[in-house]
């Protein structure tokens, strides 16, 4: 989803490893401009409140705050808006693939989650997507969602609005993402438009954030693997 005519996305980079920050800074191309950096929770909140960027790249594990790392930053910046009235959006970035970390940071409000091993191109694309208000699902996150909502076990919502289950279509989309399909490949496979895929993904993200499905947290805690 590279749209070259757009001006570079302004990004604040929050990570406690200086080496990683400089690596990302060097890697990201011209479509992204880094307007601020922060190594811990308190600095991060201050920098984000000051710069109000459209996208924050947020490490899950950070020192400072209440000891909850990225989640503290998310809580500290709740309701913040950019200059043109868009909410400040967060893309979680982590070296940990532990389910409880991922689910927790998504439920705290992040719009997506990628691992630190992601390639520069994919990261740029993910940042762009988050800036456009879409959700970013890695195959692994899709797998978590399928597992957590019991979709892999065949539970499917009868009504789309049901928060505790995925609809049949959402399940299909998640399955294809878990299989390593890009959004446009998913669209082609299901004979729908990329926009529709994005809608489905956003709706899954919303369910993930709002669902009171108690198994969700329990599941994430119980599953300390992968």
């Amino acid at each position: 989803m590279n749209t070259p005519e757009k001006k570079p996305v302004e990004v604040v980079l929050v990570d406690d490893h200086r080496m990683f920050r400089s690596g990302v800074r060097a890697e990201l191309g011209t479509t992204v401009s880094i307007v601020g950096e922060a190594p811990d929770v308190d600095t991060a909140i201050a920098v984000i409140r000051q710069t109000k960027p459209p996208v924050v790249l947020l490490d899950v594990h950070l020192p400072g705050g209440n000891g909850n790392g990225g989640i503290d930053v998310l809580h500290g910046c709740k309701g913040l808006e950019t200059a043109d009235g868009q909410p400040v959006r967060f893309l979680a970035l982590s070296v940990s693939d532990a389910a409880e970390d991922v689910i927790a940071v998504i439920r705290a409000g992040a719009r997506g989650y990628v691992t630190k091993t992601i390639s520069a191109n994919d990261l740029t694309r993910a940042i762009q997507r988050v800036a456009d208000g879409d959700a970013v699902f890695s195959p692994r996150l899709a797998g978590f969602v399928l597992d957590a909502f019991g979709a892999a076990a065949g539970e499917v919502a009868q009504v789309d609005e049901e928060l505790d289950r995925l609809s049949a279509r959402e399940r299909e989309v998640m399955r294809l993402i878990a299989r390593g399909y890009q959004y446009k490949e998913v669209a082609k496979e299901l004979f729908i438009s990329v926009k529709t895929v994005e809608t489905h993904v956003s709706s899954v993200l919303r369910k993930l954030q709002l669902s009171s499905r108690h198994e969700l947290t329990a599941w994430a805690m119980g599953r300390r693997l992968l």
Binding site: R140, G143, A152, R175, Y181, K188
Partner: protein
């Protein structure tokens, strides 16, 4: 690079995952068992000498009271029943056996494992009868519960027997001086009850989280204490009026309270120091564990990486393997599903990753035990992954979904892609190892060419269906032509 898939699978499984499936498969017939090893005569004698005097320990199993007799029997090489009989015999006139028993109990460490098997065999018929009397079937495996039952039965029986003996002795004209004997017995019983809490085998339960057993332990301790106290009071007030008990009791209480008041600060400080020390020790042990693990894994890998700094591929591969290892050490608890389908598939993917250095994104949901069909699926997945990393292009992804409707696995790469029809007849990789294998196990396999790359989808029906016998059992040589070609 020589690629020889099946044997490598076994080997890698054994090293990567010591409880992996491969280890069960790989049972070399010609492997010498330790028992068959010809022992040189001198060594045999030495071993005999060593075996003649095992260390004096108290086994946890097969014991009647504390396992002293069994331990002695092992140590001396005598039969346990003679030891017990001897102990009882020398206890009767002077109580010497009893004293010796308590002494040995206090001084002999409890053994962990090792002699357990022998201890179990050393259970004599009397114990077995007691176990049977307690209403538990006598089985080869004497469980902890039945043991406790047996102990209880023996204690009660012994008490009754003792009373009987005393009565008989009284009748026979022997003056047993009941006034002292009974309080002494009560004190002893209370002490045994309270002290048995300090036994090693009990400590786990004493500190255990199970509320039920803990309450039981506390009750036992309290009961034992009260019993001993009552015995002491009876002994102290022997022959005096009941009113005198109160005076003595008040005096004793006052003294005890005074001692408690004076020593409380010291006791408290001592206790907190002890707790602190224990916590420190636990922390130090943990730190040592972590240091040892990091040294064995991460530091070694870093050293390797420095030496291979020029070889980008090798460095990536090392880093990936190390990352995976560290991740599993950090996040995975003790794995409880050794032979589960998901574990086996993930193992296979990691192994292919190690072989070729191409990262594979593995996503799996659900799980089920590994059966015949599952084994076939694992091998087919492995073959598909090998194909993908050899002929396709990264990123390679693997998705495994285990649900009530069956198992589905997808292996996807981003290479130029191929059609099954285009594969020459003599290339057996896809045809035999993937498609054929899945069909033989009642599963399905499809190869799809996508716009970019190829996707192999594998399916297995739900597990409810009784497994069909495989007409062509997995031969140990599905090494395809195609595999050799790239070897």
């Amino acid at each position: 690079m020589r690629v020889d898939p099946e044997p490598t699978l076994m080997r890698a499984d054994c090293t990567l995952n010591t409880v992996g499936i491969g280890c069960f498969v790989r049972q070399d017939e010609d492997m010498p068992t330790p028992y068959e090893r010809p022992v040189p005569p001198t060594e045999a004698r030495a071993a005999e000498r060593r075996a003649a005097r095992p260390t004096l320990t108290r086994p946890a199993e097969g014991k009647v009271i504390a396992g002293v007799a069994i331990g002695l029997a092992h140590h001396l090489g005598w039969q346990v029943r003679w030891i017990r009989l001897g102990l009882v015999l020398i206890s009767i006139p002077t109580g010497a056996g009893l004293v010796a028993y308590i002494f040995l109990w206090a001084l002999t460490p409890q053994s962990r494992g090792g002699v357990v098997g022998r201890g179990r065999r050393a259970v004599d018929p009397a114990d077995a009868a007691a176990v049977a009397a307690a209403g538990t079937p006598v089985t080869e495996q004497v469980t902890g519960t039945s043991e406790r039952d047996a102990t209880r039965v023996l204690l009660v029986g012994g008490l009754l027997l003792g009373i009987g003996l005393v009565v008989v002795a009284q009748k026979a004209g022997l003056n047993a001086r009941l006034g002292i004997l009974i309080p002494l017995l009560v004190v002893a019983a209370g002490a045994v009850l309270a002290w048995s809490q300090l036994d090693d085998s009990q400590r786990g339960r004493w500190l255990g989280s199970e509320a039920g057993t803990k309450r039981f332990s506390v009750a036992r301790l309290a009961f034992g204490g009260v019993l001993a106290l009552a015995g002491l009071v009876i002994m102290a007030t022997r022959g005096r009026s009941f009113a005198a008990i109160w005076d003595i009791g008040a005096a004793v209480l006052a003294v005890l309270a005074g001692i408690a008041l004076i020593s409380a600060p010291w006791v408290l400080r001592f206790w907190s120091d002890l707790r602190h020390e224990q916590a420190e020790l636990a922390r130090a042990t943990e730190r040592a564990d972590i240091a040892a693990h990091l040294h064995d894994s991460v530091l070694q890998t870093l050293a390797l990486i420095q030496r291979k700094a020029g070889d980008a591929g090798a460095v990536t591969q090392l880093a990936r393997a190390q990352e995976r290892e560290l991740r599993s050490w950090l996040y995975a608890g003790p794995s409880d599903s050794d032979a589960s389908l998901a574990t086996a598939v993930v193992e296979a993917a990691h192994e292919v990753e190690d072989l070729h250095g191409t990262p594979i994104e593995v996503v799996s949901t659900g799980d089920r035990p590994l059966d015949d069909g599952g084994q076939a699926l694992v091998r087919a997945v492995r073959e598909s992954l090998l194909n993908a990393v050899r002929h396709g292009a990264p990123p390679v992804s693997l998705y495994l979904e285990v649900g009530p409707a069956g198992v589905e696995a997808f292996v996807r790469d981003h290479g130029p892609g191929f059609e099954v029809g285009e594969i020459p007849e003599d290339r057996l990789g896809v045809r035999q190892s993937i498609l054929g294998r899945m069909e033989r196990h009642g599963g399905t396999a499809k190869v799809r060419r996508l716009e970019q790359g190829t996707e192999v989808s594998l399916g297995l029906p739900p597990v409810l269906r009784p497994p069909q016998p495989d007409p062509h059992p997995e031969n140990p040589q599905p090494v395809s032509k195609e595999t050799r070609e790239h070897a």
